[in-house]
């Protein structure tokens, strides 16, 4: 296995764990945690490809990761604001209990 592949395996496993968490957990905050893990795995992929890719002197991988981090921050802020809003309305963060359209 090349070093790149090792890092890719790690990021794949991280992505898998995040996906499993997002799909199986029924708490909205934990779903968000799973999504964060998937984003982190993607960032790890970017950095690994930049480091072991054909031209590591270009900054594309790093710049992409920085943007991804910024987007993740924005996404978390809005996501958690939504969760808190729904919680105020329904008194729950359990996803199965907020699936009706009627408020």
């Amino acid at each position: 296995m090349t070093p790149l592949q090792r890092y890719l395996v790690v990021s794949t496993l991280l992505f898998g764990v995040g996906l499993a968490g997002a799909l199986t957990r029924r708490n909205a905050i934990l779903v968000l945690v799973g999504i964060e893990l998937m984003l982190t795995a993607a960032n790890l992929n970017f950095i690994a490809f930049w480091r072991y890719g054909p031209n590591p002197e270009s900054a594309a991988g790093i710049v992409f990761t920085l943007f991804a981090i910024a987007v993740a921050a924005a996404e978390t802020a809005v996501g958690l604001a939504l969760i808190i809003k729904i919680y105020r309305h329904r008194r729950t963060t359990h996803l199965d209990q907020m699936d009706t359209l009627k408020g």
Partner: protein, 175 residues
């Protein structure tokens, strides 16, 4: 992969598994912090110093704290057995695990069978912070502006969403 990176990867994966599987929400958030720290360590090992510090600053300093705050502000009475919905024909969690496992398996197979890239092991010279800044300000300036706009919009949106409407009494007194 040198031993330090191996340990960091193990910690990241262990933290991730704990973060999505523990029962206590606060423990989940703290395990997430462990994962973020370890991934920052992996970045550092890969030579991406700036990204590593940015990762710690944003993920640990902002996102983890946000998650912790949100989980404290939303005490979930979901454990209340009276409110749990009736049993379904298909339990959701084996399905979710199955899908996640399938996706991971396909990805792993792809990684294992790929021969696309040459084996680069030469020490890469990371672009300096100055070069990074110049790239951001020239080649990626549009993306940078868009991200700035996105962050501003997200911040305003989050504030508007989460702000509590003033109670009638407050409005009456005018505070």
């Amino acid at each position: 992969m040198e031993p330090a990176a191996f340990i960091a990867a193990l910690l990241a994966l262990g933290g991730a598994v704990a973060a999505v599987s523990l029962r206590n929400l606060i423990h989940c958030a703290l395990c997430l912090v462990l994962t973020f720290f370890s991934v920052a360590g992996l970045f550092l090992g890969l030579g991406a110093e700036f990204v590593s510090f940015a990762q710690v600053m944003v993920y640990v300093g902002a996102i983890a704290i946000l998650i912790v705050f949100a989980s404290l502000m939303t005490r979930d009475p979901g454990a209340d057995p009276a409110r749990v919905p009736e049993p379904r024909a298909i339990q959701p969690w084996p399905l979710g695990l199955g899908i996640a496992g399938a996706v991971t398996g396909v990805l792993l197979a792809c990684v294992g069978s790929s021969r696309l890239l040459p084996d680069v092991t030469a020490p890469a010279v990371a672009p300096s912070v100055r070069e990074l800044g110049q790239e951001l300000m020239t080649r990626y300036v549009v993306a940078l502006e868009v991200v700035g706009l996105l962050l501003t919009a997200a911040m305003i949106g989050a504030v508007v969403l989460a702000v509590r409407e003033p109670r009638p009494l407050d409005r009456e007194v005018g505070r």
